[in-house]
């Protein structure tokens, strides 16, 4: 009973140091660039021409489309028809962005109906095309209510096709695109909810459409899609079977005809992450972690190839931990992913997703600073220093406590929190209630209703968080006094603080409470909700009647990790050198002794390998 709690710093940091980056990170199409391709003539056959003649009005618009774009669409369609993943990837990641920049940076892409003749009215390709079309509208332009409704319908058609065709569909799409489909679906749901909650700026037409909108972007329909994809692909069963080391045949049997196909498996996995996100947006943090039950957070699974998904996963999981008052777990989560981002930065600075990832990273640094102030730890100095550099001013205020602390917490929270939504629409279908909302409010109510309701959801969660923070407010001051003593009378401590003794004793219980947390440290391998109580502060105390006894724990310096890392690195360099082909010796060296040749070998190898090896130079000198 009386043994010590496990302390956070005694737990090993679960950072994967040696992630094979080439495997863990997808190729974002930096190497391949989409080349303009001429329109293959046979594609536009006679029937297409007739169809075009029938639409004279459209023809004018059609002729407006630059030929290279027509060629691109034809080519893109061909790649999708052939399930040619490499070509689809190039068209999707490079071609689309290239022509967006060139022709459509400020306008919509041509409507799907307009380009339909180019793709023989292929309904599947048109759905995919619309998916891109609307995504472009959302990211570059202002979607109007028709766009919002139609993008929803298009998403439904896409998921319907995937889920309700006879048997699994034969389509194949790049993983990145599959993630973007799920990600965009949830994003559009989130902006719709936010837009919908602003009652006052709506036109009569919009009010009418919202009143009759029914299930458009309703939470139930969004959850339905995600759960269906999850169940159809049997992704949870797949993950469990993988973990248990089942053979590929056994796994194939378990996951069935859908789960065997990469398209469904990836969509299933992305849906789990999608659910994590939706539940967080709705403020359900326990359910968010519960859907992740089977997912192991590590960087070695093939699911981490889509970096955007990998980063989003950690962002939302970390946020759940903050709201569960599990600050050490949030810190561990952010340290892991921020280190990952730091290491991958060199590979990805030019990727079209890099901006998004680095914005998320910034927000995670802010949340890290928040957690670090609430529960100081020494898990990773590197990340802590970067966070302090970026948010130094706020961090200083938070750590000092006092009056300025709360506004600093508030600022970082609002900057870094997810875009919370309200699950239900205002009563658009109830004219009486709507009138009450729309009519000029009585002066009494106006201060509250003046606040745009989109921020209400965020502020509701903010106030919960701030209440937790405020409860901890006396902790930093008390700790700083306790640090100076090994034992101290409660009366004396109270007089230092100019506080009532009884109040101060109660605050001491808060200090104790704040230095304990539920954490996954030491219980790895179980669900994300699991955990055990650990000690999070190096300062420990106990009150014997009216005497406070204080002890401090210290951590001996850690050497092993450094030596292990560098030994492994050296071994790898050594192996690389050994496996390098022997250079053809220069003519003069042929006659020479073997030993100098070996030196030349090493030096040559060093250069081609691009590694800088210090002793290579020393040898010459």
């Amino acid at each position: 009973m009386a043994q010590q709690r496990m302390a956070i710093w005694a737990a090993e940091a679960d950072l994967d140091e040696d992630v094979d980056l080439s495997l863990a990170i997808g190729n974002y199409g930096q190497n391949d660039h989409y080349e303009d391709s001429p329109i293959p003539q046979p594609q536009i056959d006679e029937s297409t021409l007739i169809a075009m003649q029938q639409h004279m009005a459209q023809q004018a618009a059609f002729s407006q489309i630059p030929d290279v774009v027509k060629g691109f669409i034809v080519h893109f369609h061909q790649a999708v028809l052939e399930n040619n993943l490499a070509e689809i990837t190039v068209a999707y990641e490079s071609g689309w962005n290239k022509y967006t920049e060139k022709f459509y940076s400020r306008t919509e892409w041509p409507e799907a109906e307009l380009i339909a003749p180019l793709v023989n009215d292929d309904p599947i390709f048109l759905i995919l095309y619309r998916e891109l079309y609307y995504r472009h509208v959302y990211s570059r332009l202002q979607p109007n209510i028709d766009d919002r409704f139609h993008s929803y319908e298009n998403s439904c058609e896409l998921f319907n096709y995937l889920l309700n065709s006879e048997g699994p569909v034969q389509l194949e799409l790049p993983e990145q695109w599959l993630w973007d489909i799920i990600d965009e679906f949830i994003y559009q749901y989130q902006v719709f909810c936010t837009w919908r909650s602003k009652v006052k700026s709506k036109t009569d037409d919009e009010l009418q459409m919202l009143a009759e909108g029914g299930p458009v972007w309703s939470s139930y329909s969004v959850l339905n899609v995600l759960y269906s994809l999850m169940q159809k692909s049997k992704i949870n069963e797949y993950i469990v079977a993988q973990r248990e080391g089942k053979s590929p045949e056994e796994i194939a049997e378990i996951v069935g005809e859908y789960g065997q196909r990469p398209l469904y498996r990836m969509l299933g996995y992305f849906s789990i992450i999608g659910l994590l996100r939706v539940h967080v947006l709705l403020g359900d943090y326990t359910l968010a972690l519960k859907v992740m039950e089977n997912v192991e957070l590590n960087q070695k699974s093939p699911f981490t190839r889509v970096t955007a998904c990998h980063v989003a996963t950690y962002y939302y999981v970390g946020f759940c931990y903050i709201m569960l008052r599990r600050y050490p777990d949030a810190i561990r989560t952010y340290v892991t992913i921020l280190n990952f981002i730091m290491r991958m930065r060199q590979y990805h600075t030019r990727s079209y997703q890099y901006d998004q990832i680095s914005k998320t990273a910034d927000r995670m640094y802010a949340l890290f600073a928040v957690c670090h102030a609430l529960s100081p730890s020494r898990l990773d100095d590197n990340i802590a220093n970067t966070a302090k550099e970026r948010y130094g001013e706020q961090y200083a205020k938070m750590i000092r406590g006092g009056e300025e602390a709360l506004p600093a917490y508030e600022e970082l929270f609002l900057y870094a929190c997810p875009k919370f939504i309200t699950a239900n629409p205002p009563p658009y279908d109830n004219p009486i209630a709507m009138n009450a909302l729309l009519s000029p409010t009585s002066p009494l109510e106006s201060p509250t209703s003046a606040q745009p309701s989109s921020t209400d959801a965020a502020h509701r969660h903010l106030s919960l968080f701030l209440a937790d923070v405020a409860a901890q407010a006396p902790v930093p001051t008390l700790r700083s006094f306790l640090k100076l003593y090994t034992s101290l009378g409660a009366k004396k401590l109270a007089s230092f603080l100019d506080a009532d003794e009884e109040e101060m004793v109660q605050e001491m219980m808060v200090v104790k409470q704040a230095s304990r947390s539920v954490s996954r440290a030491g219980t790895e391998g179980t669900g994300l909700l699991d955990g055990q109580t650990i000690t999070t502060s190096d300062l420990n105390f106990v009150i014997d009647e009216n005497m406070v006894h204080i002890v401090e724990s210290t951590v001996g310096r850690r050497y092993a990790g450094w030596f292990i890392k560098n030994t492994e690195r050296t071994q790898k360099i050594f192996d690389d050198l050994r496996s390098m082909p022997l250079p053809t010796p220069p003519k003069s060296a042929v006659a020479a002794h073997t030993a100098p040749a070996a030196v030349a070998d090493v030096q040559k190898g060093t250069r081609t390998g691009g590694q800088k090896v210090a002793w290579g130079g020393v040898k010459v000198a």
């Binding site: 009973m1 009386a2 043994q3 010590q4 302390a7 710093w9 005694a10 090993e12 939470s219 959850l223 759960y227 169940q231 403020g283 359900d284 943090y285 326990t286 359910l287 519960k290 709201m323 569960l324 008052r325 309200t422 239900n424 209630a433 309701s453 209400d456 959801a457 509701r460 919960l464 209440a467 937790d468 409860a471 109660q506 605050e507 219980m509 808060v510 104790k512 409470q513 304990r516 669900g527 699991d530 955990g531 420990n540 105390f541 106990v542 009150i543 009647e545 009216n546 006894h549 002890v551 724990s553 210290t554 951590v555 001996g556 850690r558 092993a560 990790g561 292990i564 492994e568 071994q571």
Partner: protein, 241 residues
């Protein structure tokens, strides 16, 4: 969270299926979960995740909303402090439009600030103030209409105080402890007796049994290297040999 929090041993299979499956979204199951809540209230059990499932259904189906159920859920969550249960429940209570379908005025908007205040006092370990507030005239309707139905509510609050005291004290004066528990004289003695905490007669000081949180010692954490960390290096050397 301890596993008994995630899956209380008292949870039945039926409830487990609702909590962990997709059936939790089915509005027709709300009465099963509500019955389970009232069962918790009568038999001093507690299942946070099942109660959150009710609030989730309310969140998606505003017409199911029942303020009495919400208040009872919040009262149960209140005494889970310092776990975040109370906040987790509040986070699921969306802003709701003025509900016209209820027969009586919704008591929740009035009670919510009161409950928030009580939670704040408990989370900040202000136990004497908590009792004073809880026993005040203003809270009479909360006591008469709600907490009286929650069997063992006051003892559940005392359990919160006991958890805090256990972690921070090795010995505490009976008077101070009494003010945290809102007990004195024979009641206090009986309560401490049940806990197994002894009172020193001479100076009426209560001795808290040792536990992981009130045993302190200065430690130096040394790093320990586990074999798997060295696996790579050793296997590499083995290959060479």
């Amino acid at each position: 969270m301890a596993s008994s929090w995630i899956t209380p041993p008292t949870r039945t299979e039926l409830i487990e299926d609702l909590v962990s499956g997709v059936d939790r979204y089915n509005p027709s199951n709300v009465s099963i979960l509500e019955d389970y809540l009232y069962h918790q209230i009568r038999s001093e059990e507690y299942d946070c995740l099942a109660n959150l499932a009710i609030l989730k259904l309310y969140q998606f189906n505003p017409d199911l909303y029942n303020p009495d159920v919400v208040i009872n859920i919040l009262l149960k969550a209140l005494t889970a402090s310092p776990l975040p249960d109370f906040n987790l429940c509040i986070a699921l209570l969306d802003e709701r439009p003025i509900n016209t379908s209820l027969d009586e005025p919704d008591p929740l908007p009035q009670l919510l600030p009161v409950l928030n205040g009580l939670h704040d006092l408990l989370y900040r370990c202000r136990f004497p103030t908590f009792w004073k507030t809880y026993r005040s005239d203003e809270l009479e309707s909360l006591r008469d209409n709600y907490t009286v139905e929650v069997v063992g509510f006051e003892n559940a609050v005392r359990a919160v105080a006991v958890r805090a005291v256990k972690a921070a004290f090795t010995r505490i004066s009976a008077e101070r402890l009494g003010s945290y528990l809102d007990l004195n004289g024979p009641d206090l003695e009986a309560y401490l007796n049940d806990l197994g905490w002894a009172i020193e007669r001479s100076n009426s000081v209560v001795v808290i049994p040792p536990n992981p949180d009130n045993q302190i010692e200065a430690t130096v954490v040394q790093e320990s290297i586990k074999l798997p960390q060295l696996a790579k290096i050793i296997s590499h050397s083995a290959l060479k040999a």
